[in-house]
């Protein structure tokens, strides 16, 4: 092994990168949500295009094609989410009078304008979600290649999104620096806290739970809808209880149209929305609203 392997240039107090400073959760400045509720739930709905011929660079996106080309099976199961599943989610949101943040691949915006119209007309937020599931941001891209990827993604939208979710939530060490330059205000890839974190590049990192994502629990880990729902309810209950010590809390939750949008699963989303609406200590906010309230209170500068 090369000598450098046993040298530790970043070994010292705090993080090993410059995006934000090390800070224990007890050291934050509290946030108070404007409506006085204790917990803000933010619903993130990814709308993804999975090409039939993924390059798999630098890795295959979760949910990418599995069997040899042409893998019509996985292509059409994913496509179900954009055609059918998302409309079940939209209906559930409308009935509960809840606004959500739709994280949209540029390719989806380009291909399916009626879907974008349906989301906008219902008053939801649209954030950018990279170009497609096969356009992963990673260290192997040059700064100009990655910048071009972001520019092309944003060009797919008629009004420029202010929020960003990376495909597979993967980044290069340059991504955060490039987002602000492209006019983006907040990013949902990182989840090192229960509150937003401001970083040196002036982008807000808004936490987004991997562990409570429907894709993780219902698809990857094959747990039941009952269990997913109960775990979210338990999480909300705990966050409510921490409000006394830590002020307003938040929970970012992913709803995947081809997972939760299945006919036999949609009841669980309806139940979740009813649970949130019935609880006076909890409300839903879009990622953009969370960012606005966070920035206006200047709660956790880096």
């Amino acid at each position: 092994m090369d000598k450098s392997y046993l040298t530790y240039p970043k070994r010292g107090y705090g993080q090993d990168h410059e995006f934000y400073k090390w800070r224990l959760s007890t050291e934050r400045k509290n946030i108070q949500w404007k409506d006085g509720t204790k917990v803000a739930v933010s619903l993130i709905i990814p709308l993804e295009f999975f090409p039939l011929n993924p390059s798999g660079v630098p890795f295959k996106h979760p949910g990418a094609m599995v069997t040899p080309y042409p893998d019509l099976r996985h292509f059409t199961v994913r496509d179900y989410g954009n055609r059918v599943g998302v409309f079940r989610i939209l209906e559930a949101l409308e009935n509960a009078d809840v606004k959500a943040s739709f994280a949209v691949n540029g390719e989806v915006a380009r291909r399916y304008p009626p879907l974008i119209d349906a989301i906008k007309n219902a008053g939801h937020e649209i954030i950018a979600h990279g170009l497609s599931t096969d356009h992963i941001h990673h260290e192997g891209l040059s700064a100009s290649e990655e910048k071009a990827l972001i520019t092309e993604t944003l060009s797919c939208f008629h009004s420029a999104p202010k929020g960003w979710l990376s495909p597979a939530r993967n980044q290069s060490s340059r991504t955060l620096g490039l987002l602000r330059g492209a006019g983006l205000d907040y990013c949902l890839d990182w989840e090192m806290d229960q509150l937003p974190v401001a970083i040196t590049t002036d982008v807000t990192l808004i936490p987004n739970s991997y562990e409570l994502s429907d894709f993780t629990l219902l698809h990857t880990r094959r747990q039941t809808e009952e269990s997913w729902l109960k775990q979210i309810q338990d999480a909300i209950e705990l966050l409510v209880s921490e409000h006394t010590r830590f002020g307003g809390q938040m929970l970012g939750l992913t709803l995947t149209p081809y997972v939760i949008g299945q006919p036999f699963r949609i009841w669980a989303l309806r139940a979740l929305l009813a649970h949130v609406k019935d609880n006076p200590e909890v409300n839903t906010l879009t990622a953009g609203e969370i960012n606005q309230q966070f920035v206006s209170q200047n709660a956790n500068p880096s």
Binding site: T76, Q262, F264
Partner: protein
């Protein structure tokens, strides 16, 4: 290799023209027992091994043989009790290996469609002529065994070529079970013919629920009921389709069949609202009544891309 198969146009589920099933029914229900033959010593395919570990795979082979020896009969008797006819997804070589089973289904006036020759022979790497030979064999074998002209196709082990759907349309098939993008039938963009994409569902398929997702029988029965209830609710706006694809080596196991029967009892208790049909009957009703209006509506949405499958306009 194409990024997008272009087999159908984008068609948002909201505000589609209303489909009504015969008798004013809201949901068309069909049940598709897969009657399959997995070879003991299949040849290899360069793109995919016929069994997940080694050949022969005794445990997996014999479990599927249990389906043929014990399971299908158990399932047939269950469907009889609920006055349901199956639409058989058939590996057509089974007509030669186990003709007794095919006769039992034919006597019940069940429908047959092709699921390839064997589930251990994949479409990968077949030339259009070779794939045509599989279709010829399928049509001929089922006709010889039952007198039925098959109208549906589910590619063996869900393996395809770029030519598959054009070929089956050219051979006057009416529906494909290979695409899972929707809960309603819809037109496919084949070069000739009128080929319907028929909802067949992987999500409630017992291979997915039991073998892949590891569900227990109570949970399987629960999701079948919920799936049905939701699609029936939506069928009020525009007729939906629910299919339960089954494999007797899984669903007919002694520990599982009772809970499956409970789900079926729930579904068949809604006879006023549900059209109990076969795949062919649903495809025909769609083609005769909704083919043109569907295409018109898709076009009106302004995002039709033209062209045909794997060939962009």
């Amino acid at each position: 290799m194409k990024a997008d198969p272009n087999l159908y146009d984008y068609w948002p589920y909201a505000n589609r023209p209303k489909i009504t099933w015969p008798g004013g029914k809201k949901l068309a229900f069909w049940i598709a027992p897969n009657i399959e033959f997995y070879e003991f010593m299949p040849p290899g395919n360069p793109q995919r091994s016929p069994w997940p570990n080694a050949v022969p795979n005794v445990q997996q082979y014999s479990q599927r043989d249990f389906g043929n020896r014990v399971g299908h009969l158990r399932l047939m008797e269950l469907l009889d009790r609920h006055k349901l006819r199956g639409s058989v997804s058939l590996n057509v070589a089974l007509c030669d290996h186990h003709p007794e089973i095919v006769e039992d289904c034919a006597r019940r006036d069940w429908e047959f469609f092709s699921h390839g020759i064997y589930n251990t022979r994949y479409s990968y790497g077949l030339s259009p002529d070779q794939e045509q030979a599989v279709l010829d064999d399928s049509i001929r074998s089922v006709e010889a065994a039952t007198g039925q002209r098959i109208r549906g196709y589910l590619a063996p082990a869900l393996t395809h070529t770029e030519a598959t759907l054009d070929l089956i349309a050219e051979n006057d098939f009416w529906y494909s079970c290979d695409l899972f993008q929707d809960d309603q039938p819809q037109p496919l963009k084949t070069k000739t013919g009128k080929l319907v994409s028929m909802p067949y569902s992987l999500e409630v398929n017992d291979v997915i629920t039991y073998s892949v997702m590891g569900m227990d029988p109570d949970r399987y029965a629960d999701i079948l009921k919920r799936h049905f209830d939701q699609l029936l609710l939506e069928g009020e706006r525009s007729g939906t389709v629910m299919c339960i694809p089954l494999h007797a080596y899984l669903v007919s196991q002694p520990n599982r069949i009772k809970m499956f029967e409970q789900a079926l009892a729930h579904i068949t208790a809604h006879r006023d609202d549900v059209w109990f049909a076969t795949g062919r009957e649903i495809a025909k009703h769609f083609i005769d009544n909704y083919w043109d209006s569907s295409l018109d509506d898709i076009k009106a949405r302004g995002v039709a891309t033209g062209g045909t499958g794997f060939s962009h306009g």
